[in-house]
Amino acid sequence: MSVTYLEAIREAQAYLLEHDSRVYIYGQDVGAFGGAFKATKHLANRFPGRVIDAPISEDAMIGSAVGAAIEGMRPIIEIQFADFSTVGLNQVVNQAATLFWRTETPCPITLRLPSGGTSGGGPFHSQCLESIYAHFPGLVVCTPATVEDAYSMLIESVTLDDPVIFCEHKYLYYHLKAESLPKDALPLGKARIARAGRDCTVVTYSAMLHECLEAAEEMSAEGIELEVVDLRTVKPLDTDTIIASVARTGRLLCAAEGWPWGGVNAEVISRVVAEGFNLLDAPPQRINAKDTPIPYHPKLWSVHRPAAASIMAAVRNVLRS
């Protein structure tokens, strides 16, 4: 038996609905239809009244989740595409993210954001918004890169007493498979060494992990060994694991699919420079998408986002200096 990244998300939700009567799912087309990506397929049937179709009202969807959380529920909000979450941004960053700090009332909501580029997705069905959300105090931001993490991190997110932005990558939905669902997992906030190596640390997350691992395999054939760190959560950032890796390799490349200005890569580099400057043998580098909206044509898109080939070129740059 094998399980895909998408199935892991569905199974995690089934588990949560089954084990916690406070959990419900709310989103456009999530009910009988099972969601635009089928992440809630059959769940409405199995859990009557707890998998609810929403109108096209992201602001009200997220606002109502905050209200329900105040009443002790644990809503999971499925936004049809991450890109549409900006319509409800106010409720996320001003209601959900400030509630605990202002009132000591927990706000255990989870926003599932189908994120990231796929071929032909275009400017409005491809965005990676983790850096935007991570900027605001009061949110936990998850970016699972593996089937196991998609499962265990979603369960932990909904169990957490704080608002979580769960950025699940659409590119991984169907291709990425694991043998089975995990029995145990690293906690939220902990990064993972996805591959050990001595020559350069590559810090990454979400779908870019797989591009980095592919780059690492190819470079290994030339005798260059990359150490790949999968951040898992981008907020909080596991600075200790990153710095420990840089201490071993002396070099750092950050790879992310989001836009270059600010963001996760910039944050990682800033921390390494501030806290581990003397560990570095070369200036740290980063690779991001280009600083334009995400193009529709697959030929443009494949150059717009980082991929194994451009990551290898960036690694060589770090090694050369």
Binding site: A32, P55, P123, K290, P295
Partner: protein
């Protein structure tokens, strides 16, 4: 007779509808053959309503079409070639491979390029109308097209209220095709008819059978005339049914047989053909000839788009500002 219903105009409208339908069929084929990336979204069943929007607009007007407005776009002046270029990612079309499928337009010509976020285009039309007023232009209107689902957005509420306060010549057309993706209208709004929303905002309302070309033409003409004459925003609700999936990836199994068999489920193109034959004395042969001519034009356009090739990412200008000197990270 109402001048919008004179023979030449009804024929013209029908021929755009036919073009839109045949173009949609080809797009679906190209999508299944892997020649179109991403998705394909069709307007089957909505051509009569859509074409009526394009038919009543003039050059100086503003049009913000949406996903199912292939016919309206053609009638407003878009060529089948430009539609195909965008869908097939040609570097020559208005979007040059940067955006695709229904996300296309030529804003300098009053043809606004939709973003995916539903409801977001209405206030953009409002702004264009306010600017025209400030510039001293006269007798212009703007049409924003949306679906029943988009009436649930905050953007819809804010924009219709804004247009009402500003007394803008906005014609807001809602294609109530009974579903938003899989969601039936019963899960979208609780009022009896969407036209009731007009009262709350203080705007005029119109309701029309979206399957009837002549009714759509008449209503759209009436609504735009009123807006042009300064009567303020007009809300037009058209009742019809989406005769296809949400996109070509969707089999629309959730559409109930009762709805399909009801009057909203009628095919507006077939009904228009009947009307042309019975009321305008158009022969079957003429209909056949038009169809052949349309197929020929579409085929020629597809061949041309195929010759135009794909955008070259290594010679592409990766600049998102006009002020090139202010662009970073090119």
């Amino acid at each position: 007779m109402n001048p919008i219903l004179d023979k030449a105009r009804v024929i013209k409208a029908y021929r755009w509808m036919l073009m839109a339908r045949l173009l949609d069929e080809r797009l679906a084929q190209l999508y299944r053959a892997g020649r179109i990336f991403g998705g394909v979204f069709l307007g089957k069943g909505q051509e009569a309503l859509s074409v009526s929007m394009g038919m009543v607009l003039n050059r100086q007007d503003v049009y913000a079409p949406l996903i199912r407005d292939g016919a309206g776009r053609l009638a407003f002046g878009e060529s089948a070639l430009d539609a195909l270029r965008t869908c097939m990612g040609s570097p020559m079309g208005p979007m040059r491979g940067r955006d695709g499928n229904v996300h296309r337009g030529r804003p300098k010509e009053g043809y606004l390029p939709m973003i995916s976020h539903l409801g977001a285009s209405i206030s953009v039309v409002n702004g264009a109308l306010m600017a025209k007023r400030m510039k001293g232009e006269k007798k212009f209107v703007g049409i924003a097209s949306i679906g029943d689902g988009a009436t649930s957005t905050g953007a819809f509420h804010e924009a219709i209220n804004q247009a009402a306060i500003e007394k803008l010549p906005l014609v807001l057309v809602v294609a109530n095709n009974q579903y938003a993706y899989s969601t039936p209208t019963s899960s979208q709004f609780a009022c009896q008819s969407l036209s009731q929303k007009a009262i709350g905002y203080g705007v005029s309302d119109h309701e029309v059978d979206g399957t009837s070309l002549t009714d759509c033409l008449k209503t759209m003409q009436d609504a735009t005339d009123r807006a042009r004459q300064g009567e303020g925003p007009q809300l037009v609700i058209a009742n019809l049914l989406r005769l296809c999936g949400h996109g070509e990836h969707d089999d629309a199994h959730y559409i109930t047989p009762e709805l399909k068999a009801s009057s909203v489920g009628a095919d507006c193109l077939k009904l228009a053909e009947n009307t042309l034959q019975s009321d305008y004395h158009i022969s079957k042969e003429s209909l056949e000839i038009w169809k052949e001519e349309t197929v020929l034009e579409i085929n020629q356009s597809i061949e041309q788009v195929q010759r135009e090739g794909a955008p070259d990412p290594y010679h592409h200008s990766w600049k998102s500002l006009i002020s090139r000197e202010l662009c970073e990270h090119s």
